[in-house]
Symmetry: C2
Subunit: 218 residues, 2 copies
């Protein structure tokens, strides 16, 4: 249950001069914090690259939501499938109609390979999510999530890894597929067990990753 859909940086790819023209075709768009960017059924399919802020890709049904991933600057996404997209913070992104991108791809085989890599990565992540949903209980998924975040986003300090998640219990619950209450209870349990330490709102310190990895250890 990683958060990043793709570690491949399309930006880099696009900086090559042969893509100059492509870059010009992107339009800059801004969305305010909390705004819905795309909902299934919209017919304006877009390919876009994150420039600033975070967005959430999620599935929704009635009043329940499940976050597939959180994307940040440098990440790329294509509206598609049944997933919704919403801005977590104020967001800036570079967008282009999917159709145009497709046409462009035909003439630029190298781009295809990048896309294939990204899709492959996405697929691996999806499998990872499924794996967690099927085999792990809520404690396990939470621990797993913290570990991945720590590895990807944590800052090493003398007292362990410092993690600025900047998320409410409710958002966390939506990621691992649980309820606010349960997540709250388990996190406190982790704290009592000493595997995690709340430093502030959405900020945690992990003294020992291995301990967290096999929580609950008994």
């Amino acid at each position: 249950m990683k958060t990043k859909f793709s570690s491949i940086n399309l930006m880099q790819e696009l900086q090559h001069k042969e893509y100059e023209q492509l870059c010009e075709d992107f339009t800059e768009k801004k969305y305010q914090k909390g705004r819905l960017i795309y909902a299934p059924g919209h017919d304006d399919d877009l390919v876009f690259i994150m420039k600033q802020g975070r967005i959430r890709i999620y599935l929704a049904m009635e009043d329940k939501e499940f976050s597939l991933t959180i994307l940040g600057p440098g990440d790329i996404y294509a509206t598609h499938t049944r997933a919704h997209v919403a801005a977590i913070d104020d967001v800036t992104l570079l967008a282009m109609p999917t159709m145009r991108f497709h046409r462009y791809m035909v003439d630029h085989p190298a781009l295809s390979r990048t896309i294939i890599s990204i899709l492959g990565e996405l697929l691996k992540q999806s499998f990872s999510i499924i794996d967690n949903l099927v085999f792990k209980d809520i404690s396990g998924r939470l621990a797993d999530f913290f570990c991945h975040e720590a590895e990807y986003d944590g800052r090493q300090t003398e007292e362990g890894i410092l993690l600025s998640l900047d998320m409410t219990m409710e958002q966390l619950a939506a990621i691992i597929g649980s309820s606010r209450q349960t997540v709250s209870t388990i996190i406190n349990g982790m704290q009592r067990a000493g595997v995690i330490c709340k430093v502030g709102r959405g900020v945690y310190r992990i003294p020992n990753l291995d301990l967290l990895k096999n929580f609950p250890s008994l």
Copy 2:
């Protein structure tokens, strides 16, 4: 929760003459019913096309398994990720090392597009699986599964759609992520409700798809 990972027929693509050479590079392999074809950790990564029989792509953890999909003749798959692959029936497939396939793809951009379509399709399916796991209960997933199978694989008769699933309760359970016992109980419930009708082992008749679609309707 569809069963087919891909409706795109690579076979067709490969029949074009420019792929003659590629086709020759595939090796025919046979596996007996029940045999494990690939487990994560094997380092012989393969791309392969199903020729005969069915295989199961699944995640496994300790003694629990979850089937991601069942593939049949014409379907393509690449060993990858954490998924296991096993033969359900006696199986024949055409295989090629992933590396060679990659090299080939560089020189044949048209092939890339096919691969992108397939990956996109796979991704959509994965989202669909996640959707089911997160939002639906076992009854819902079962009903959903039957509906998809009926639409894809069923034969229309005067008394409804006839479905030869050729699967045990246990295999069914592994697909929807449940237990043998629960599936058995629910299917009997469906039968009592009249939305489904067991004709024989693994063979069902669905008098009315809509009825099944919103089971349990009350």
